[in-house]
Structure formats: structure tokens, C-alpha cells
Symmetry: D2
Subunit: 288 residues, 4 copies
């Protein structure tokens, strides 16, 4: 999928499966001059659910955002849709949290510089100093807020303040080694992406490479997912694996895993920014 360079709008719909739904949406958009760039639908037959993503360019579209919301609402209601409207014209602000392992952070920074991630990065937050030089090199404000058992509540309040001050709408945990409190997570529903260094649900929790070595698996993996209250249990966005053998010791797993982690995190962040992900239940639809 190519992110369009012209201003575009995106409608993400999730509803009971009803006849005439596609026609109603297509018709509405067409009547108002929309040139549809992408349209993708999915039906979950078991659950009787319907999912749709449609993106159109705004050039000849005759409604502004407010009018669009007002006129589309009754259609949505008649089909019992849950819907989300997004404008590619607004660049989201993304905050990156990192600890001591920098490979995921550097990967995101380089993808951003290459133009792959359509967002601003107003700040990087860490509980360690390791990433400061890199952050400064890329000209991104760096906030080191050391976290101890004692100050965790205060640290999170500081984080929230910084995020609000910077208008952050997406938080990426790039191997950030602290567990977020439910109170924090609740503030950013489906807006916090984490990378876990295992093929979930295998080896959730701490030290997954140790556990993988112990179990003698022949493939190791990494998983990017939205963060929810339950550790490592949020909706999975992307996973990948790589082959290991008896020759691979712990250091090898860690090294091979690094390449996986940054890849699955990079993909998840790009897809989120392209508004291609729709959550339902504890699962994701990732429209291609």
C-alpha cells in the first residue's frame, strides 16, 4: 500500500454483517465526489461481523469533516456501525519509550528519516541515559526519568504530563523494560504498541530467550501488540520467527532476536500510522 501524498480521509467500520452496507457507504461517498483510493472489506462468518476500510482523496470531496460526520451518522446508525474517521492530513505525534537496548529505537528513527513513518516524533522518554546521544543526533528532545520501585507512580505522572504537552497520540515501547500501570494504559487505549521478544503466547513474561533456550525450540520469534491491562495479552499486530539450532547459545538468540524485534515493531508502527489496523475483541484486522 502506498500512502497517498494528496490529502485523504479514511473510514474504518466494524458492524454486524448486513446486506446493502457496502452499497450504502460507496453510494454516500460517490455522491459527495469522493475518489476512492483503497477499499477493503472483511467478513468474519463465525462471528457475523463485517469490517471495512475505505480511503478516498479529498480533492473533489464536497464535505468538510464536520458535515461528513453529521451526514454519515444516520447511515452508521441504521447499520449499527462502530466507525472511526481519520484524516491523513493530520500527522500524528508519536512518543518512543526505550531503556538500554537501542536497536528498535534506532530502527524507528531511521525509518522515520527515510520517510516510511508518516508522523512527528516530539520526544523520546527513557529510564536510562543510553539513548540520549542518538536522540540528540536526530534532534529529538530526550527525557530521562529514572524509575525505581518507589517512584513509579510519580514517574508515570511525569510521563503523562509530557505526552499531553506534546499532543502525543501514539506511544511505542521500543524495548522499554518497565511494566505500565493499568491507570496509564487506560489513558491510551489501542494507542500503545509494544514489542515482546517471543512468539506469543509462548514465553510471555520475563526472559523469553532463556525460556526458549531451555525448551529447545527450533524457531524463535517476536510479537508486536497493543498494550492492555494484562501483560503480553493485548491484540497481536504482527509476528515473525527465525530459525535457531542446537549451535545457538543465549547470545545468539539475543542477536538473532534483535533483527526480528525491530522488523515486527517497525511494521506494526507503520500500519498503525497508515490507519490500517482495526481492533475487535482481542484481535486485530490489518487491512492490506
Amino acid at each position: 500500500m502506498i500512502v497517498s501524498s494528496m490529502p485523504s480521509a479514511i473510514l474504518l467500520i466494524h458492524s454486524p454483517d448486513r446486506k446493502g452496507l457496502i452499497a450504502a457507504v460507496s453510494d454516500f461517498l460517490y455522491k459527495h465526489g469522493a475518489n476512492v483510493l483503497h477499499a477493503d472489506q472483511h467478513r468474519d462468518n463465525d462471528l457475523g461481523l463485517f469490517f471495512m476500510r475505505v480511503e478516498w482523496d479529498l480533492q473533489d470531496f464536497d464535505l468538510d469533516q464536520q458535515a461528513l460526520r453529521r451526514l454519515f451518522a444516520p447511515i452508521a446508525e441504521s447499520f449499527e456501525m462502530q466507525w472511526r474517521l481519520e484524516y491523513q492530513t493530520t500527522r500524528p505525534a508519536m512518543a518512543i519509550f526505550v531503556s538500554k537496548y537501542l536497536h528498535c529505537l534506532l530502527d524507528l528513527l531511521h525509518r522515520h528519516q527515510s520517510g516510511d513513518l508518516d508522523c512527528s516524533i516530539p520526544l523520546i522518554i527513557s529510564n536510562h541515559e543510553d539513548a540520549r546521544a542518538h536522540a540528540e543526533f536526530y534532534g529529538i528532545p530526550f527525557h530521562c526519568i529514572p524509575t525505581t520501585a518507589g517512584n513509579k507512580g510519580q514517574a508515570e505522572r511525569d510521563h503523562l504530563e509530557l505526552l499531553a504537552a506534546n499532543g502525543v497520540s501514539l506511544i511505542v515501547l521500543a524495548r522499554y523494560m518497565q511494566v505500565l500501570s493499568p491507570a496509564f494504559v487506560t489513558q491510551y487505549p489501542q494507542r500503545i504498541i509494544n514489542v515482546h521478544h517471543s512468539f506469543l503466547p509462548a514465553f510471555s513474561g520475563a526472559r523469553p530467550y532463556h525460556a526458549a533456550l531451555q525448551r529447545g525450540v527450533k524457531l524463535i520469534g517476536a510479537t508486536s501488540h497493543y498494550v492492555t491491562d494484562v501483560l503480553d495479552e493485548g491484540p497481536i499486530i504482527e509476528q515473525d520467527v527465525t530459525r535457531v539450532s542446537h549451535r545457538d547459545q543465549l547470545d545468539d538468540l539475543v542477536r538473532k532476536g534483535r533483527d526480528l524485534e525491530r522488523t515486527v515493531l517497525g511494521r506494526a508502527v507503520a500500519w498503525h500510522l497508515e490507519r490500517r489496523i482495526l481492533c475487535y475483541g482481542n484481535k486485530t484486522v490489518v487491512f492490506d
Copy 2:
């Protein structure tokens, strides 16, 4: 994608990219009572082309095939569509051509028996006797027509006669080691699927595993494609690869390649039967 068990119709469209096209099609189907099961669209921005596949169940649809064709024709014309209408109700007849290597044939027969391939298999044609026992076990008529340099023309006339007599609409070359003549190929445009034992365009032509070994590649592949006049140059449907190392000798490449060949051929045949493939230029769109 689940093949629907209820009777359904499929429309495959290929046209210049025009505003209102999705709305026009959706609207037409909705007005006639179609319950859309799947709809997928694709725009090729570089070429300014639009592709669409829409499948709907026929239960409440108020047009028969003839009426549908007549009423849809003016819409198609106004958008300059190339279009194809297919009914899942008709089970296509598939002929399998095979020589001495049986792994692709056996794989297709077992997929068919498992219900993965929605077609009949009225005959198997070979230039050797090797597959006869298997064909008979599965209760499929087996025709051995030995092919020599001298009798090739006659052999192909015999093939065409058998295919016509059995109403065959799809021919699968399951490691059939004879090159088909252009005259033969012309009779079944985009209806002959071959598997080539390399990652095309690398190692086209004879003895690709020898060539791969000689070049020292670290991955070998297989490719399924529609057959055209030009050997190994037809539209690619599916490809896959597997890792090899310096330890792998020719026999290992052949053995590892077998697993690839049957997989990429099996997928291509299933997708064709599900009417998910649309050709344009020398390429394929495979709708998911």
C-alpha cells in the same frame, strides 16, 4: 478465504480507474438483492488501472445469469470494463498432465479428496505409465499417450480431443516434461497452470537444480504460472523458496524442491478454482 458452500456468483473486473465505479457495481448488486460475501479492490496507480473481485450469494438475488449479463453490460461499457462472470455453482473439470515424477499429482489428488479443490477430475493424461496405478486407485480414467519427436502433433490432437470430450476447463501440468505447442496453448488461454522447479526468472529452461547448484545459490525455489507461448515466461501465480547450504548436493536440492513444487502448484490450482486470479499484461492479481 472460505469457499462458500451456498451457490454464489463472482464478478472479476479490470478497467481504467474511474470515479464512481465501486458505487455503481455495489449499487447494482444491492438493488437486485445480492448479499455480498467478499469484495476486494485494487488500483495500480502507475498504470491507472482498477481491479475488482466481488462475490455474492445467489439466494435472494433476483436475476438469472442471462438477465444479469444483459443488465450489467451497459454499466460495464460506460466504465470501459473488461469483466468476467463466474458461477460457483458450476464445478470446473480439471485435467492433470503428468510424466514420471508423481509428487505433484499425488498432492493434487489428496487435496482434491480432502475437499480443498472444488472441481471434478475427469482424466489424467501422461506420456508414461508410472501414474496409472495411482490414477486407478483414485478412480480417475488414465490415458497414456507416449510422445516422441515424431508423433508430437498427433499426440496433441489426441489430447485436445480427450479434453474436449471431458469438458475440461483447466489443465494442470504436474511436472509434465513436454513442451506444449503454441497451437495447443492458444486453445486454453489462462487455463493451463504449470509448475517450474526454480525461482523464475532465475534458472528458466531445462535442469534448474543443476544450474542452481552450479551457481551456488543459498535458496532454491519453485514457481507456478499460467502457460503462454513463451517457455517459462507466463504470468506468475505463486512462488516459494527454501534454504540450501554447501552441504546440499543435487539429490538434496531435488528432494527439498519436491516439497516446494507441490505447495506452489497446490496453491495456484486452489486460487484458480476459487476464481481469485485476474491476469493483466503478463502479471496476476491474486485477490485474498
Copy 3:
């Protein structure tokens, strides 16, 4: 690795890591005229363990099996080796257990026919009749022993009798849907290979595809492993995965999984027969 067609012997060694070990083994073999075909070593640095597989052709070797065992024993003792001597000259007898899903069985039978599996298959055992026709087609005696909650003990006694009568040294569970009792497993330590239809340790136990769908994973897997007392916990031999998306419903997972299952089982069986697998702790070394 090419299985040598000439008679060969294989020594599999597992010992504490000691200086001079390779030299001692190489020297011993050389002095007795061995032409080494393959030699592979592995050190587990963390555990301080050393693993070795060496295969040599027997043509000019001046010791028979008995003499070899007698003369090698003191060397083994001095290095505290655990060792296993195997002769490629003896073709092992393999029994296949199957229930109603036949894809793994058919795959093994075809690999055997293609010459990929160097063993005899004196019998197929099942708790259902489904595989009988295929077994008979391949000329392999088929024993249907229905298993109920009540007769499980007797069924296993029948199995053991059949296995003993046929000199079976390897049992392959090709989607055999019964749990073996510890008493049975104890009779064939590291000689029973199972395929589980998930990426272990994720989704162990019953209905792994249902669980995978429920969790919303983006890859599904299959695992072949030696059977031990603890269900799905034995040493892993091979694993593989394939990509799934939100479009894949349960049937798609089952269908895609079939291709994985037969591949990971086929590889495990071939490697076992080539005496390439060495178990230690609950893990495997698979020599390439």
C-alpha cells in the same frame, strides 16, 4: 546430507568436554582403516558438554561390530562418553499410527516410495478404518484396533505385540489422536515421533487451531517431537510456521496447517532414520 549407498557405521557421542577427544576418536578410526564420510561436532559451552557424530564407510575398515565395541569401550570410558553405535546396513522397521486425518500418513508413504526414507514399513496401526484402502494400495499390512475408554489397556497390549512381532524400532504418530500411556512410552524411549499441530510450547493440548484463532496470532505452526511421559513436552525435533491473517477462519487454519504438519513430520522421520538426532536433557542436537 546424502545417505551413503555403501555400508557405513555411525558413532554418536555425548560427553563432558575434554581436550583430545576429537583426536582420540579420529585416530582410532584412522588406525582401523575408516574412511570418514561425515564428522560433525558441537560444544555446549554453558553446560560444558561435547557432542559428536561421525560416519565412516566400512569397506576398508578392519573391525567387525563386536571388535569395534570391545576396542572402543576403553577410549569411551576414559573420556566418560555416552555413545551409540549404529550400522546403516540395518534398515530399521518403522510403524505408522494414524487415525482419521491421512495427510501425514500419505506423505510418509510417498516419501518412502520416493526413496527418501531408508526403512521398511511392516505395518500401519489405526483406531479407525479410514486408512485401510491406502495401506492396501501400498501393500502394507493394516491393523485396525478400535480404542475406547474401556479397552485402552488391551489395545496397547495388542499394539505392543504387533510391534514386537514386526521388529519395529521406530513408531511414528501421524496425527494419531490417542494419548499413549506412560507404560507404552517407556518401551520405546526416543523411538516415538509425534507431530503436534501448533508451535510448541504455545497451544499444547487439544484443539490448537481453535486456540490460535481465539488468540489472534499472525502465524501458525507445527512441531515434531519425541514422545515422553508428559504430553507435548518431549524433545523438539523440528518446527515450522506459516502466515495467517484475519481473513483465515478455522477451516483455513486447518488446511494451511496440514502442509506444515506433514513437512515437519517428514523431516523429523528422515533425520531420525539417518541417525542424525542426539537427545540430551529434554533437547535435541540435529547434526546437519
Copy 4:
């Protein structure tokens, strides 16, 4: 494979296949107190060739480099070995050549910083200024030598002078978009590693992503190889692929390809530095 942190020596052998060769080498090393860390052998049956890599720690080894070379020479001669002796104690100096695409360079710099690449990087050479800021951030001298059709000879002389002055033993072309002259290549036989953005031998030469898009392949690849006189024809070290679909336009191929390129280049460089690669004919043995 873990690179040992203690000083070690590595012997890479390539010879006609002869009985007693392993024993002779093992015995020699053992007698001089070597503790073998890794030993790997490979026989190419078709060519009758034998390959061996053996690494031992130098702690109790009783020969210095000179004595080792003198005493091993007659053994090597009697088996007609081609052999190479390397000491892990010497950290090789690696030069990186880059043009305008920085993803491979940044990847190498970060792998180096993470401790994955056991070498020094005394300089980065480019025909453009794009990489200067990154080079300076990592504290590596950066030399921009613009290259035009007219000054190519002089530019290469400048390069050679810089390489010699810095004692460079490995040159990595990290998407360096200039073809090296045969005169240059000859100076660094099997010491120049390039990454080509296709699955060689498919799409050699210029603009491989354009060619891949044109052909309609379903997978794209990248290849790392040693540079020889013939463009894109040198011994392949590593290859990998990723899936593409009809949805992927040129920009998507370029973006997906970037992840492949850096991975296959990173692996090739690491393996070279670990002295795990042995060339013969136009192929590589990569010992694991």
C-alpha cells in the same frame, strides 16, 4: 556460533578428499596442546573435495604462529591441502563504501556498536556527502571522493591509498553505487563484500526492483556476495527473500527490500569476520 573471547586460532582447509586427513589434523593439534573449540568438516562428493574449519584456543597451545606454520606445512603438503591460518587475536580493519542510501551503513554501524562485528572501522568512503553526519556521530573518519566518468581512475587510486594507509583487510560495499574496476578488485580478492538488491542470478545489473515489478514476481530478494571481475557474478554468501503482492508498487518493493538488504549484508560481514567462509570455484562454504 559464539565468537570466543579468549585468543584463538583458526585453520581453514580445502583439499582433495583423503583418508586420514581429519586424524592427521586432530592429532597434530592435540599433540601441541590445542583445545578444539569448533571443528566442522564437509565433503563435496561430486567434486571429491574436502573442506575443514577448526578453531582452538591458544591458552595451552605450545606453538607460536611461525612454528605452527613451519610444522604444519609438511602435513598440508602430504595431503595437497590449500590452507589458511587466521588468528582471532588480530582484529581486522573494515572499510565501508556507501553512496546515498544509508540503511546498510547504519545497520553495520549499529551491529558494530552492539559488539556483533569483531573488527575496527577506520574509515568510511563515499562519492556523496549524505553519510558524513552519521560517520561523525560514530566517530569514524569520513572521506568523500566524488566520482565522475572522467575521474574514476584517480578516485580508485585515492581509495587504494586510503585503504592501504589504514591497513584495511575487508571492504564492504553498503549500497555503493559505483562499479569497481577489475584493477581495484584484483587488489582485494575475496575481501570485498557487496549487497545486490535482487535474488541473484535473477535481475542482475541495474534497477532490479523495476525489473521485478515488471516481471510480476511474488517474492523479492537480496544477495550478498564477494566481488569479482564479473558484475554480480561473484561467490554468493547469503540470500533472503520476502513476499510481495500485486498491491506492492515500486516504492513498496524498495522499502521492503531495504530490510532484506541490510540483513543479508549484516550476516555476510559477520561470517566473514568470524572466518567462517571458504571459497572454492565460484561458490562458498559457510561453516556454521
